[in-house]
Chain length 266, copies 2
């Protein structure tokens, strides 16, 4: 399924922007960001560079379009039917992005780049909107909407990217233990005087389950979100608690584990 040799037989149908983007995603999946070159695309689609530029502008536009397509597909898998709690929906959206980034590791860098180039580009608003709406639904006061959504989105993209980096190296499931072992070995080789924390945490990393760990972070932030807003709180100064009391049942807490994500591997 990977190496369709399309280049020798002549195309009869017209080339479209979608077909070019599709081929770009295939190249990116196969060889990462550096694998997407105009020339490689040109061969795969049996055409000339001019065609690419006519349809998608330049390489940057192509990367944006590929990113957009994959993220849109991931976000489109909305929870079918059953009305979940906002927390569960946030977990579902987060896991959807987590899996998309695991399947397309180039997405991580691409999304980060897009966020720190033109934050109001094509894909980013979609992600913000999807998470932000659920933050609203949690009952978070308006003054915290942006902060809470930012914390969730940045964690999702960052943690998923880091996971994809690990996952990419190991291919088969058999390599997994070996790789994680090597990684935590590398950690343990760091100077114990300079890196006591990392050495202490190395064992946890070796034994953790990716998705469970990821969701743990989501729940941590959700707990912060639902805990932080107090009745007598001034929204004008977000994130500063004027008093140390915490209202217990705020907006449902972080998770009853209901509609919990399908258990991952074994």
């Amino acid at each position: 399924m990977a190496t369709r040799t399309r280049q020798s037989q002549r195309r009869t149908d017209a080339l479209s922007r979608e077909r070019i983007v599709e081929a770009a995603v295939e190249l990116l999946d196969a060889a990462g960001e550096t694998g997407l070159t105009v020339r490689a695309l040109t061969e795969r689609l049996a055409t000339g560079p001019g065609t690419i530029y006519w349809h998608v502008g330049n390489r940057g536009g192509l990367l944006d379009a590929a990113t957009d397509a994959v993220v849109a597909a991931a976000l489109a898998t909305e929870p079918a039917g059953a009305p979940d709690t906002p927390q569960d929906e946030i977990r579902a959206v987060a896991l959807g992005l987590f899996d998309a980034i695991a399947a397309h590791p180039w997405l991580a860098t691409q999304l980060a780049t897009q966020l720190s180039r033109s934050p109001w580009g094509a894909v980013t608003p979609r992600i913000f909107e999807s998470i932000g709406r659920r933050v609203q639904a949690l009952g978070v006061p308006e003054g915290h909407w942006f902060t809470a959504t930012s914390a969730l989105v940045h964690y999702i993209l960052g943690a998923a990217g880091q996971n994809a980096a690990n996952a990419r190296v190991l291919g088969s499931e058999a390599d997994r233990a070996e790789f994680l072992d090597a990684a935590s070995k590398a950690w343990e080789e760091l100077d114990p005087d300079d890196y006591p924390f990392i050495r202490a945490v190395a064992d946890q990393v070796r034994e953790h389950d990716d998705r469970e760990q990821f969701l743990g972070g989501i729940d941590l932030i959700l707990t912060g979100v639902t805990t932080l807003h107090l009745p007598a709180h001034d929204p004008g100064e977000p994130g500063r608690r004027p008093s140390p009391e915490i209202r217990p049942g705020a907006a449902g807490g972080s998770g009853t584990s209901a509609a919990g994500p399908r258990r991952p591997r074994s």
Copy 2:
């Protein structure tokens, strides 16, 4: 101070790895990641490409070294003297990275790339270690160390990167309102049916203060961290609260605004 024309006069002193990295940082600051080319370096240092490769290997190594140098400098500015709470120290480290990324916008993409390529590279462990040690000091149970540190680090790098992207566009302080205005205008132009959340949040963004907003996110996560671990909690399943009760004063709460960061602009 920017355009020292070093290229015409002959060097008398030997070239060192540090001088090359220093020049690389200058190029990156001036023209971003694409501004760092071996040829540009070659001109600035009045030497040939062979010299660069002899000292630093390849372009990737140069980028890593530049990132490492800037981040190390940012982390080295540890709180002098006064014994702060772990929360305040985390805020200080976070602000240090925030400012470093604001001063060197290319750092954001670079750190993200480095994290999602070899997460156990050169710089990343330093950041993890710096934050992780304070998470330990908060009294977080060992099972949550990695999750809590990940949430903080990913938020810090992601939010700082997004801020740097905004800040870069506007140069002078006068442009600021104009730019934020344009940005939130762009948001408001989005289809109201597809993007109700973003439209609703646009005004907040226009009026927010960067650093205050950033710290709000830190406090939100810190609240989650200190709230989530309950006495009767099983560390084996991180992030899932077995019961909806919340212990009030957990480990100090999120912040009394003591030792608060120097107030930003006006």
